[in-house]
Symmetry: C2
Subunit: 354 residues, 2 copies
């Protein structure tokens, strides 16, 4: 989970729309009307196109994961009177997945002044002189924890954010997201495949994206108190707005990244999900799960924000946690072991593709 997702959850609680002017329809009202009258097309506002994209991708990913696991996701759907809503899909104790969560959230809400001034650091288009702003946020977030310790955990999140002027026109907007891989045992070919697939997706849009966002990912997913990264990285980006590229290009980039997810991960999962493993290897996976919990509870900005929000949907905020985890005092991998090799890579991030 990243900041944005908690912003979504936050708004689910507090963001009931207060009409800014009684005679101006809110963006939620405009969007509801638009969807009813003409559906969602390539000329619809970005809000509706993003909503359509993440809904389609959630269905596609859930279907693919069910096919590989054999089990069914449980689906929780909620709607909000003002037009927002969310769908949480969770599969627990499956044949392949210990725990898998694939969530979308679509939120129409109101940003208070304090949030606006915080966001202005990265988005100068935001008007600092208003008491509140209507906003829209939509995102897809997933975390998959497989049973087999040879199969890596994967995380993905893509999101779009927009604020509206008093007349309902778009004020500021930006995209964020990324995906990263967290193995317990390192198979170089897996990590190279994952990074290469992401890089190819990035390269279609900008030859600099992969290296910029790979570095950002290593920096963000750092378990600072351990001096190690959470996993072997991937990409991470936030606040991509008109100062980066036009809206259409960034939507296309996010869409390509989402398309790349199943090709980046499924071949790895298929290779690893039925590999033999020992109790000792399962235990190492459990220790690594503990580190995942440490990152998510101690360092992840989105989780912190969600947990600090009175009345937030805690089960959604904490859906990223593994089913099981372990903390063993002073555990040290043996010199020359596979476990030690992983730790070296986590302490010193590697360039996996040229």
């Amino acid at each position: 989970g990243v900041v944005f997702i908690s912003a979504l959850i936050y708004s689910m609680v507090t963001g009931d729309k207060q009409s800014l002017a009684a005679d101006t329809p809110s963006i939620a009202e405009q969007d509801t009307l638009r969807k009813r009258e003409s559906g969602i097309t390539a000329t619809s506002p970005m809000r509706l196109r993003m909503e359509a994209l993440i809904k389609a991708k959630q269905r596609e990913i859930v279907r693919a994961l069910e096919a590989i696991d054999g089990g069914k996701f449980l689906t929780d759907t909620w709607t909000r009177p003002n037009g927002g809503g969310g769908i949480s899909c969770v599969l627990q104790e499956g044949k392949v997945f210990e725990k898998a969560g694939v969530n979308i959230s679509i939120v129409y809400g109101t940003l208070p002044r304090k949030a606006i001034s915080q966001m202005r650091v990265n988005h100068k288009a935001l008007d600092p002189d208003v008491e509140s702003l209507e906003f829209f946020a939509a995102g897809l977030s997933l975390v998959l924890h497989p049973n087999n310790p040879m199969a890596p955990t994967v995380h993905l999140n893509y999101r779009y954010f927009e604020t509206a002027n008093a007349d309902g026109s778009t004020n500021a907007w930006w995209f964020g997201g990324g995906t990263d891989l967290t193995p317990s045992y390192l198979f170089d070919e897996d990590v190279i495949h994952f990074h290469r697939t992401i890089k190819e997706a990035c390269d279609q849009h900008d030859k600099n994206y992969y290296s910029r966002f790979k570095k950002w990912c290593d920096e963000y997913f750092s378990v600072k108190h351990r001096g190690e990264t959470r996993g072997v990285g991937g990409i991470f980006f936030d606040d991509l707005d008109e100062s980066e590229k036009d809206q259409e290009s960034l939507f296309a980039f996010s869409s390509t990244c989402l398309d790349a997810f199943l090709p980046s991960y499924l071949p790895i999962l298929k290779r690893r999900k039925d590999m033999p493993f020992t109790d000792r290897e399962k235990q190492w996976q459990q220790l690594r799960r503990g580190r995942y919990v440490e990152f998510n509870l101690v360092h992840d900005r989105g989780t912190a924000f969600g947990l600090a929000t009175p009345g937030a949907r805690i089960e959604s905020v904490l859906m990223s946690l593994p089913l099981t985890a372990r903390w063993q005092y002073m555990h040290e991998p043996e010199i020359g072991s596979r476990e030690e090799r992983l730790m070296q890579v986590l302490k010193q991030p590697v360039e996996w593709v040229e």
Copy 2:
């Protein structure tokens, strides 16, 4: 763990004594000399008496826990060139304990200006106009996680803090501490026994202590994002200084509390450690362990302080985490079940003794 323990660890890293005046011996030097010349007696400075107390209590508690478990604690001892040191005793995967840690730390160090101004909120005796202050800190901290889900987890921490004037005399000092019980299954007689034993210890010193410190404990050990307490409470206090009572009385109070630990907990452990239990009950314990992790990683001030300290001994900071834990999406105890009964008590703290 509480704030203090991390202050200890912090100082283990950064607190190398910088002589304030070359001709004035540091309190560490004074104490080393005193111990060599005359040992520790009832007329020694409080620093040395506290050190002797927690060392004796650590030995006593470790011995009693080994007797009940049958296993041996691993002991890590470290010393610091300037006179401080620590002893970590940990027993993992024992017959009775999944994980048990009993730590002491004794630290001589230097408080930077920023820490002084933060501490001044509670301790007006601290001089706000100095760049740094010598300090001493000593504490005993323990967390016991038994295997059997019918046997509760218990936490205890007692600590003493002191700052020195430039001439080596005592400037400010205070005591802190407490103990609290975290069952997965509620046995009223256990909780009543625990609270009654603590109350009797408190009542020997002040008839108001138990009710004040019981309330403080319920407030501090609150898993705020879940709207529940970590366990069924006990006592918690901090910053008890001359505005509360004289040093001698507060030392005697801490000493009585430490004496009360084994009588408060061992009878409960003996009743529960060999009780039969089902897989489902073990799993509920694992879910409750997850909540313990959530409190310690998200809310505990001492853990946060320790993790934010560059170079801290992370294995000591996180020794309080259970060996294993579990997070299950949307788990709800059945209506009328024992699990639900526990949740009711955690959502609405109970007065266990009059």
